[in-house]
């Protein structure tokens, strides 16, 4: 079904009887060319680009729960491409360019809103670091602007400028950054993939991998055996669990990241702000709720919930950035499980098992990467070589000393 304004008008005039399901809930077939494990944003995007760009349509996406029920529905919906290192920045900018045309591409309203991402700085040293990052971004053709305090004040008059322990001096601004309706990304990709013939199979948990002679031949699932020429694992949050079915260990620890929403209010936060003197970031959803978050809890966790000390820490960050936040009630908090990699950067790579591919390690930057991750993974699956913007996301980069460590904190996953 093709969505358009005309279609809405016509359906409105004819009793809305013509709508059909957005995508097809499929039964598993016995064999596919590619089985994608994980029906989150990245898995569905991979299926979509495999079918649309690379012409491989005999594809299944198998999902343990329901599509979009994992991290693509649990994030804080921010998109940006303000990275610094050569291995990262071209990839995230590729992602940003795909976001900019995504809704037209898959014909679904994902509410992509380029409302601007502002990283605040609070010291001379931090300003210099942001100037350097902004320059690195501009060298890759990405928009970046260093704002002084007056410019930040005109964008966000309600922040704490005069009485803060760490006064806001300015910020690094990426006007093309913004937010996206996260669930709609999963649904839009599901629609696009489904229309190209991809089978989306829900309630289908992978319980084993069939490997013969060092090559994958299929997967065991809760809905039977599915044979496959290629198996593409794409289950960030549960990567270690799923890859252990093939006997593989990964440079990943699992951690819980919490997020929060306040009661709805009139528009006060036009874009996305990150606080530079603590770990806190904030935006306002179109429904009016303030969406915010901060650090991961820090200990290893597979539980999709966190603990109170981090909630307190996040709220303290918010209060010091914008004291008027204290008048709003927090109405929801939740947790998601992050693949925290050893250098803070992801993986899109082959594995030591022929035909088994791995995409994961997104730390807490997976949502913004969704389109490029899917595109580059599809490229790897179709061509057996990395896409040119994802050549550094290899599993062997630690052995080669080629880490992509934006923060420079070393092999310490809970600090990335």
């Amino acid at each position: 079904m093709r969505y358009s304004a005309l279609r809405i008008l016509m359906e409105g005039l004819t009793g809305n009887k013509g709508w059909t399901p957005t995508w097809r809930d499929a039964e598993p077939k016995a064999e596919y060319d590619v089985v994608i494990v994980g029906g989150g944003g990245h898995g569905l995007a991979t299926a979509y680009y495999l079918a649309k760009v690379y012409g491989i349509t005999n594809v299944a996406v198998v999902e343990k729960g329901w599509i979009g029920g994992g991290n693509v529905g649990r994030n804080t919906t921010i998109i940006r491409s303000n990275y610094m290192l050569p291995g990262n920045e071209p990839f995230y900018e590729f992602s940003m360019k795909l976001w900019e045309n995504l809704e037209q591409d898959f014909n679904y309203n994902a509410m992509v809103s380029q409302r601007g991402v502002l990283n605040l700085y609070h010291s001379d040293g931090q300003r210099d670091a942001y100037a350097r990052r902004g320059n690195a971004m501009r060298m890759y053709g990405v928009d970046a602007e260093l704002l002084d305090q007056d410019a930040v004040r005109s964008l966000y008059p309600t922040l704490n400028y005069d009485n803060a322990r760490f006064p806001i001096q300015g910020g690094l601004y990426q006007a093309r950054g913004g937010t996206v309706r996260h669930d709609a990304v999963a649904w839009g990709y599901a629609k696009g993939a489904s229309e190209h013939g991809v089978d989306i199979i829900q309630n289908c948990e992978v319980t084993g991998m069939d490997i013969a002679g060092g090559a994958i031949t299929g997967v065991q699932t809760s809905r039977g055996t599915i044979r496959a020429k290629k198996v593409a694992v794409c289950v960030a949050g549960s990567s270690s669990k799923v890859m252990s079915l093939a006997g593989l260990r990964l440079p990943i620890e699992s951690h819980v990241l919490q997020a929060f929403v306040s009661e709805a209010m009139k528009p006060i936060i036009p874009g996305v702000i990150t606080y530079g003197a603590g770990h806190f970031y904030l935006s306002q959803s179109d429904k009016g709720g303030l969406v915010f978050g901060g650090d991961i809890d820090g200990y290893n966790s597979y539980a999709q919930r966190g603990n109170l000390p981090v909630i307190e820490d996040v709220c303290e960050g918010g209060m010091s950035l914008m004291p008027s936040l204290g008048r709003a009630k927090v109405v929801r908090s939740w947790g998601g499980i992050m693949d925290m990699s050893m250098d803070g950067s992801p993986f899109i790579d082959r594995t030591s098992v022929d035909g088994l591919y791995f995409n994961g390690g997104w730390c807490y930057g997976g949502f913004k990467a969704t389109p490029a991750s899917g595109y580059c993974y599809a490229h790897l699956l179709a061509r057996d070589e990395p896409h040119h913007v994802a050549t550094e996301y290899r599993l062997d980069r630690f052995m080669r000393g080629a880490m992509i460590d934006e923060k420079g904190v070393g092999a310490q996953p809970n600090l990335h």
């Binding site: 597979y302 539980a303 000390p309 050893m342 310490q412």
Partner: protein, 102 residues
Amino acid sequence: MLIPCPHCGLRPSEEFTPKGLAEAPRPVIGGADLPEDATWQDYLHTRTNRAGDTDEYFHHALGCRSWVVVHRNTLTHEVYGATMASEFWAQKNQQPEQETGQ
């Protein structure tokens, strides 16, 4: 979470800084036992990252400043106990087949 520090007793987790999974002892360095690059890389970067019962290093930074290994469950956040990091591997090696903390 409350963590039973072997030195200080039951303390709130905010006093501790988590370091990461204690899955394998540090490879012995020096002399003939100099670790192969692959052994060292595996120790530094690769994890089994099991869901469920886990051993994890914590530093009691706002307490006695001891390094402890906390035995806990990553699915339920239940804490079973804690051992001084200096004693953990010696104890674990004495009972190689047993999971600690159960």
